[in-house]
């Protein structure tokens, strides 16, 4: 125990004097967590609170196009700027000039064709009401001559956001068409205008959608960008110890000190155990610092505060096993690398790959086939699943035992590979 204690003291002293290593293990991940959470939060705000700038070039002179523009405005998602119809050909330039991400050209026959479609639908409806099936068939043959509505977009918009935008524009278009069909149908039936109050009643009484998070503990806390990002990037930060620890193992191995260690009556495994204990402490400290930032600092930065899970013991155990896995992986890379450059290069790239396949960058539920199977080999995946269960679903320890077990098995495999590497390289 005395040898282990002295080794731990030695490793702590070396670590504390390695300013670059400390900054890599603490400052860089903290910056990463703040930046990524801010960006994710901004994306959320962009859709939820801010408005996307959109330019509309209306080449039509009818009422339907005006109603369409009004409907787009009412969605609340867009900041609409109208430009003259003579600028239709140069809408791309107008988008650049006005920093608009979206542009829509309403074709010249828009209102006329909407009216024609409404009339056709109305005729079909009237025929159906009166049982005149032949007339229905005739009406069905009538085709719409409406030119398509063209939506221009800036390529920086992500596909998922583009689909949301298209859905919103489509709903505005649907509203215009439905209104016109209703008015025409009412006029055909009653030979007078549809009363405004009835029109509003018919168009605005849609059933709303109430969104509620489903949690294991029955709470209804709405997840935010911090709840998603802080746990995920804390895992990444813990694996970032490879930049210091992997290099430390290689340095010791290739420097003269290792020759002397081999001639002393103490097994090198004591040294590796000491490193595991010290750097496990580092990973726990990283998690404490990053979680604390999420709780207390984020609100000052305009970011949503992080809410810790109710089962703090489960959080501690998951963090402990994840940290142990990160440390074991770092030592393993250090044992097999011949130079510090190899350790740092391979270490950095490999943890980015593990993060990718582990679901830190793209959610694992969005992965398909082989990619989804591949997630299972990434220790980050199991840790992330456990963290999400705790932070987002209100899970308890029993709910994450499967994740902890998988993480533990992966860690034991890494430890075994390290041991075999040490034996093969005659280091123990």
């Amino acid at each position: 125990m005395f040898k282990l204690w002295i080794s731990i003291k030695k490793d702590i002293r070396i670590l504390l004097r390695d300013k670059v290593g400390i900054s890599l293990m603490f400052v860089m991940p903290i910056i990463l967590v703040v930046v990524v959470t801010s960006i994710q939060n901004s994306t959320f705000q962009l859709v939820a609170k801010n408005k996307l700038p959109i330019i509309i070039c209306n080449t039509d002179t009818g009422k339907a196009s005006k109603q369409f523009i009004e409907s787009v405005n009412k969605i609340g998602m867009f900041n609409v700027t109208e430009i003259g119809k003579d600028k239709a050909a140069s809408i791309a330039d107008a988008m650049h000039d006005k920093d608009a991400l979206l542009g829509v050209i309403i074709p010249a026959n828009f209102s006329a064709e909407i009216n024609k479609k409404a009339q056709t639908a109305s005729d079909k409806a009237m025929a159906a009401f009166s049982g005149q099936t032949d007339t229905v068939k005739t009406a069905t043959k009538t085709t719409s001559g409406l030119d398509p509505l063209t939506l221009y977009y800036n390529p920086v918009l992500q596909e998922s956001l583009r689909f949301s935008i298209r859905g919103a524009i489509q709903s505005a278009l649907q509203l215009v068409q439905t209104r016109q069909t209703l008015r025409t149908l009412y006029y055909s039936s009653n030979e007078k205008e549809l009363p405004q109050s009835l029109e509003n009643e018919m168009l605005n009484s849609n059933t709303t959608i109430n969104m509620l998070p489903v949690s294991k503990d029955g709470t209804r806390t709405t997840p935010n960008a911090s709840q998603h990002n802080v746990p995920a990037w804390t895992i990444f930060a813990m694996f970032f110890v490879i930049m210091s620890l992997g290099g430390s193992v290689v340095r010791e191995k290739v420097s003269g000190s290792f020759i002397r260690l081999k001639t002393l009556p103490t097994n090198y495994l004591v040294g590796l155990l000491s490193k595991q204990i010290v750097y496990l402490g580092v990973t726990l400290l990283q998690a404490i610092v990053i979680f604390s930032m999420g709780i207390w600092l984020f609100p000052f930065l305009g970011l949503p505060a992080l809410n810790l899970p109710s089962d703090l013991l489960a959080l501690f155990i998951v963090t402990l096993v994840c940290g142990w896995c990160a440390v074991s992986y770092s030592i393993c890379v250090g044992v097999f690398a011949n130079t510090q450059e190899q350790s740092n290069g391979f270490g950095a790239i490999s943890i980015v790959i593990l993060a990718c396949i582990g679901g830190l960058m793209v959610p694992s539920f969005a992965m398909q086939g082989f990619a989804k199977t591949l997630t299972n080999i990434s220790p980050m995946h199991w840790c992330l699943e456990a963290y999400y269960s705790l932070f987002l679903e209100g899970a308890k320890l029993k709910n994450v035992l499967n994740n902890i077990g998988s993480l533990f098995i992966i860690t034991l495999i890494i430890q075994l590979v390290t041991y075999l590497g040490l034996k093969r390289k005659n280091l123990i």
């Binding site: 002295i6 002293r13 390695d18 020759i259 002397r260 103490t266 005659n426």
Partner: protein, 251 residues
Amino acid sequence: MAITNSFAIQIEHMGFHYPGNADVSFTDLNLQVEKGTRFGLFGPNGAGKTTLMNLMTGVLSVDTGIIKLLGHETGHNNKQVNQLFGFVPQDFSFYQELSPAENLEFFGAWAGLNKAQIANRTEELLDILGLKDVRNKPVEKFSGGMKRRVNLAIGVIHNPQVLFLDEPTVGVDVQTRQAIISYLHQLNKNGTTLIYTSHQLNEAEDLCEEIAMIDQGKIITQGHIDDVLKAHDHQSLEELFINLTGKAYRD
């Protein structure tokens, strides 16, 4: 551990080669060094001095034959054997980020000393080797001579019975060299066997009583320094060295 014979080192029919490298290899090498001797091992660059030293200290394992240290075969139960000897490698073999006191604490513990023993030996060695004033400063800021003294202090922290020294004075000034040689004499007087290699042949003449010269993995001469010089009719080790190994570059 009971010492049962009078030899510090016994090498019997030892064979070794680096995998994939035939430049340095030993075949059927035999060598004996008596306890309490100041033994010098010399040879041109690439002759195999450092390899032989690594084999004697168990850093490398022999392919054939045996090496015994104070009667105990190295490579078997070597952790017990490792307590009997100290090693001062040619490279600075310590943690440059740590101070001399911190290095001595760590290596002392790994050598099997307890807290009190480490404290006593640290004070003693820092005093003898002139490192007391810099005991808490990081070694990375030291001069080459000071680093050599730290390297030596770590090698002797546990009062080893046999001390291996691989070029312990390379790159140091005259004062440091004299201080180190003087300390090595003192250790030997107290019963420590010294196994020493160097290219400083004048220094070797001052320090060593027994020598062996090796070249291309073979011992080309061996014995008491005076007897060896007389047998080859030379006045100095340098003359003998050139005569036996030639003037051509070896690396």
